[in-house]
Amino acid sequence: MTRTVTFTKEQIAAYAEASGDHNPIHLDDDFARSVGLPGVIAHGMLQMGIAGTVAAEAAGGGERLRRLVCRFSGMVVPGDRVIFSAEPAGPGKLDIHAVNETGEAVLTKSSAEYV
């Protein structure tokens, strides 16, 4: 099960609004640069939300998910194209991967469990 997402500033802003996480590193390029980032970055929790949709599909429905673990290992910036995948890893278990177009893993050691 895979899903490819090209991140945009609009999508990151929509996630900020929907989640209530208005940290300016996700919304304001000037602020993000002032703290050493290249510009605004996507929320780790937006990546996890997308990974969760892929895991839910692989599990046969979100209501079956019992655990989701994500390690945010790489930054995602607007314009990045990320492939999210969930692969079977034994009964009731999934390995989760997210890799950007340069082959860098943006999620590592990520997994899900379902019933």
Binding site: S34, G49, I50, A56, G61, G62, L68, V69, F72
Partner: protein
Amino acid sequence: MTETGVAGRTYPAVTFEIDKDSVAAFAKAIGADPAAGVPPTFAAVYALGATAPQLFGDPDAAIDFAKLLHAEQEFEWMRHPQPGETVTSQGRVASDMSRRGIRFVSFETETKGADGDGICRSRALFVIRQ
């Protein structure tokens, strides 16, 4: 590794209504089907999002938001909440350690239903450069 800050601190429980319009907006933002019910990761809102501001606003915790990274997140669900349901979430600092100028704060949130049944356990690892 030395213990720092607010290890063991528990914050007051927060009541949160699983509002269907908020759920729909969240589903849309992550590209989930809004007709498929509450996305599992809406726990980012009803568990983590409902309680983390207490930690970030705690003067004793002294967390510099500009130096904060969310390094890891885990959700464990006993069940998923329904739209219209009111849940209660309580946050706790499971550990707060510093090593070589980097502070690691493990923040756990337990979410329960109206009758006290378990819904979700959230564990966030925040890394703060010092």
